[in-house]
């Protein structure tokens, strides 16, 4: 049976090893946004042994490129983008920098799910196409790196009760496989 948790960032190993694929998590605290272009820059910095624009240890990265905010709003519409485009970058952030969580939608490859099991990280799904609903849970947003990337810049977000579902846990379980197997008629 799926359980519901309320967690606050930064996440510890204890926070994430209790989670199982299918569990619901309401996440609060600071999270960081990055899509493929920003990920590439982070990996380039790691290759050059330079400091990253935020402390990745225990952090959660949200794969999102929001719409521009209207005057007075912290952010525009902000739902998840498809995560596989980050597959070639995520394992290094998890294994070498201690990234604890990723928020996106869609399948991840084996390198990512292996890294989740080995170094204890979670891949969360947020509801794709629910950008207006999800934006309500974002209380502030600040561009902290790569403003030239526009919607793809790295933003520091403060979220409250951000609704998530555990897709890949630290035990190599995958909700997409489990859920589909339950309803597939062959």
């Amino acid at each position: 049976m799926s359980k519901t948790y309320n967690l606050t960032t930064p996440l510890s190993e204890a926070d994430v090893i209790q989670l199982k694929a299918g569990d619901i998590v309401y996440l609060s605290g600071i999270i960081y946004t990055a899509r493929d272009a920003a990920h590439k820059k982070l990996i380039d910095l790691m290759d050059a042994k330079e400091e990253l624009p935020f402390d990745v240890k225990g952090s959660v990265i949200y794969f999102v490129g929001p719409t521009p905010p209207k005057p007075g709003d912290p952010i525009g519409s902000a739902g998840p983008t498809t995560s596989y485009r980050m597959d070639s970058y995520s394992p290094r952030l998890i294994n070498e920098k201690g990234l604890r969580g990723m928020i996106g939608k869609g399948k991840r490859n084996k390198e990512v799910t292996d890294a989740c099991s080995k170094s204890k990280a979670i891949y969360f799904g947020a509801t794709g196409g629910a950008g207006a609903l999800l934006a309500r849970q974002i209380k502030s947003a600040e561009v902290i790196a790569y403003p030239e990337l526009g919607p793809e810049a790295i933003r520091k977000l403060e979220v409250v009760d951000f609704p998530l579902t555990v897709i890949n846990d630290t035990y190599d379980q995958d909700l997409y496989k489990i859920g589909r197997a339950q309803y597939e008629i062959k």
């Binding site: 939608k105 196409g129 629910a130 919607p151 589909r180």
Partner: protein, 283 residues
């Protein structure tokens, strides 16, 4: 000749884009409600509930339904007796697109294919629009518009199957594409299928099929029966809303056909996410 003013085209396109960005069309909303009623999986029902709530918030707060506000795609039927005054039709569509995306606080999503640099300052805000023109009889101008997101476009596929594969070959290919896509394109999906013509004709037909009203019945009885069979088969895949498992994987399947070469049977599958933002402008 009937004259249509350039600025009237710009304005109606701008307004339609802004409205579509924040208001799910009635047909898509009806399908979403229907899927919520029919869905057996509690997890998928929760997803659909969030999506219905999202549609409410987007409309009432005038906030984009999704952060991926798409590339602007148009199918334009130009009557031969129409004359656009004050500029060209293509320029009017592009100007309306830029204004709609900018004024509606929608996302500029066009980038350079290789450097991936955003082209909003170089070419224009979310430009160029993707425009398919068709010349028809009469003095009317009909512009079909849809905002096409990237996630569902990424899983779309086209092929040319052996003619001997026939109807079953088409059905098997559509199933293969949707099955492989899984959660990635944001199901429940509308699946556009283009059959026949040349390679690119099949692709364009599959795109145009997505502009058809959801829930409408195909005028061709053979295609209608294929659509029904495919809806049933695709829902059996168990993918469900956002791929978390469920009985409602598709809102519908829309098929368009064309006569084809005696040697070929092209098939294209264009996938549309649940946020089916489309409208028709008549001038």
């Amino acid at each position: 000749m009937r004259e249509i003013k350039y600025e009237d085209i710009v304005k109606s396109i701008r307004d339609s884009i802004m409205y579509s960005g924040t208001n799910l069309p009635k047909d898509a909303l009806e399908k979403m409600n229907e899927a919520y009623e029919k869905e057996k999986s509690p997890v998928a029902r929760e997803v659909l509930k969030q999506l219905l709530e999202n549609a409410d918030i987007a409309s009432s707060e005038d906030k984009p339904l999704c952060q991926d506000t798409g590339l602007a795609v148009f199918f334009v039927k130009v009557g031969e007796d129409v004359k656009v005054v004050g500029g060209t039709l293509k320029a009017a569509i592009n100007e309306g697109t830029e204004k709609g995306y900018k004024d509606g606080y929608l996302r500029a999503s066009t980038c350079h294919w290789d450097t991936r640099a955003n082209l909003k300052d170089e070419i224009g805000y979310n430009l160029p629009a993707i425009i398919h023109f068709d010349l028809v009889e009469g003095d009317e101008l009909e512009i079909e518009y849809a905002a096409k997101g990237g996630g569902s476009e990424n899983v779309s596929r086209a092929t040319v199957i052996p003619p001997a594969a026939g109807r079953q070959g088409v059905i098997d290919y559509v199933k293969e594409v949707v099955s492989n896509a899984g959660p990635n394109p944001c199901p429940p999906l509308t699946v556009g299928v283009g059959i026949g013509g040349t390679f690119e004709k099949a692709v364009i037909s599959s795109k145009h099929a997505l502009f058809r009203k959801l829930g409408s019945v195909n005028e061709n009885s053979t295609l209608e029966s294929m659509e029904k069979e495919l809806v049933e088969e695709l829902n059996k895949l168990g993918i469900g809303a956002m791929g978390m498992g469920g009985t409602q994987t598709v809102f519908g399947v829309h098929i368009e056909k064309n006569p084809c070469h005696i040697a070929s049977l092209p098939v294209s599958v264009n996938v549309q996410c649940h946020s089916s933002r489309h409208t028709v402008i008549k001038l």
